[in-house]
């Protein structure tokens, strides 16, 4: 199996947020700031790496009939650990993500990858797949939070998630009087994702057309 292809697929062709529409709840709910987006993305990457590797290791011992309950228990255990670690080390992020940290358990990406990939492949490939999918998810929600924070508050900033007093960067781009408040609200979330998906659709069809033209010319 081509490892590079597995890795790239998660980010582009099978991007969970923009192409497959998996894990929509956190993608819409917590993308009000880049801090939240990146924090959520990292949490999902870590959970996905752990669950994919554990499930890949036990894939031959678990009877086929009860595999889904077993996967769910493994995922719930991993998420419980991450939840407690985040409460201890990133309290600010943990408060602002709130209920969406425990809800990683029912994020379709995690169970989806366990069932579609980790249960059939060896541990190395499963980890690469987890990394690709996790990064793809992070990229999707980073784009969402970038647009929403920029248009909704006019400020782009990133804090250190372990110590919220440390600011990595802060740009005031749009003056306060010109921000579009609605982008920080639920309406803005749906609107941003709708347009991002349309842009991605337009790009994919343009790329496909380009490749088709190239093939014709080559002939």
């Amino acid at each position: 199996m081509d490892k590079k292809k597995v890795f790239i697929a998660g980010i582009t062709k099978e991007n969970p947020v923009l192409m497959m529409f998996l894990g929509m709840c956190p993608a819409l709910a917590i993308t009000t700031s880049i801090d939240n987006g990146i924090g959520m993305g990292l949490a999902v990457i870590i959970v996905l790496l752990l669950t994919n590797s554990i499930i890949s290791l036990i894939r031959n011992t678990v009877p086929n009939e009860i595999r889904i309950p077993v996967y769910i228990i493994i995922i719930a255990a991993v998420v419980s650990i991450i939840e407690m670690l985040m409460q201890a080390y990133t309290p600010q992020l943990s408060t602002s993500l709130g209920i969406f940290i425990p809800l990683i358990v029912v994020n379709c990406i995690i169970l989806g990858r366990a069932e579609a990939f980790a249960s059939k492949n060896n541990i190395l490939n499963s980890m690469i797949d987890a990394l690709g999918m996790g990064l793809g998810f992070t990229l999707g929600i980073f784009l969402m939070s970038f647009v929403r924070q920029l248009l909704g508050t006019g400020v782009l900033n990133l804090h250190n998630m372990f110590d919220s007093s440390v600011v990595f960067f802060q740009f005031n781009i749009i003056p306060k009087d010109f921000v579009i408040d609605i982008f920080t609200q639920p309406t803005g979330a749906f609107l941003t994702l709708g347009f991002l998906v349309a842009i991605v659709n337009a790009i994919t069809s343009a790329v496909k057309k380009h490749q088709a033209n190239k093939k014709v010319e080559a002939k």
Binding site: F21, L22, M24, C25, P26, L28, A29, P69, I72, I73, A76, A77, V79, S80, E83, M84, I99, P102, L103, V105, V106, N107, C108, L111, I182, Q185, P186, T187, G188, A189, F190, L191, L193, G194, F195, V197, A198, I199, N201, A202, S205
Partner: protein, 190 residues
């Protein structure tokens, strides 16, 4: 009367789909046909109500006395998964007509984050038992209203002339944005 206001605020003002973003996957996935959306909404009402009560009981009668509240995620997801299985079996045995109507949506509900979300919110927001009952019933009613309205709009979208890149989920999301905007109008009620 206070409970009535409490219920209305969760059905309309803090609508679970359009303001809390829970249960988005089935909201987008099962809303192409209004009949299916209605079935999904009814199944969700049943499962959220039951799981809300059962998880509340387990948390306060088992996990708290044993001092293992950090096990809530593990127990809740097990309760929900087995409850969905149980509901499926009971319906199949006793009300086959309802079972065949809801059939394919029942297994999907396990991974509907609204179910786990309501179970966790009951605990996190420190509701008492009456509030848990009202909350676990009013949230899925709001879900049913949202998904049914949304599906009727989507049925009409099928017939309209939409720019190619916007076809499918993109225009659906933009419609959801407009619905969310309309629902913010309820904010004055409660």
């Amino acid at each position: 009367m206070e409970l009535f206001g409490f219920a209305i605020s969760f059905i309309l003002v803090k609508n679970i789909v359009l303001t809390q973003f829970l249960g988005i996957c089935p909201f987008l996935g099962v809303s192409k046909d209004s009949k299916n959306a209605l079935g999904m909404g009814l199944a969700v009402i049943f499962v959220i109500f039951m799981s809300g009560i059962v998880t509340y009981g387990i948390y306060h009668l088992v996990l708290i006395p044993l001092e293992i509240p950090y096990m809530r995620l593990l127990t809740f997801i097990l309760v929900i998964a087995s409850l969905v299985q149980f509901v499926e079996m009971v319906l199949k045995r006793f009300i086959p007509s309802l079972y065949s109507a809801l059939g394919i949506y029942l297994p999907l509900i396990t991974t509907n984050c609204a179910v786990l979300g309501v179970a966790l919110a009951n605990i996190d927001q420190g509701f008492n038992f009456t509030q848990t009952l009202v909350y676990s019933l009013s949230v899925p009613i709001g879900y049913l209203i949202a998904i049914y309205l949304f599906s009727t709009i989507r049925e009409r979208l099928e017939l309209s002339d939409i720019p190619t890149p916007f076809k499918g989920n993109s225009i659906a999301l933009i419609m959801a944005a407009l619905m969310a905007l309309a629902f913010t109008g309820f904010a004055g009620i409660a």
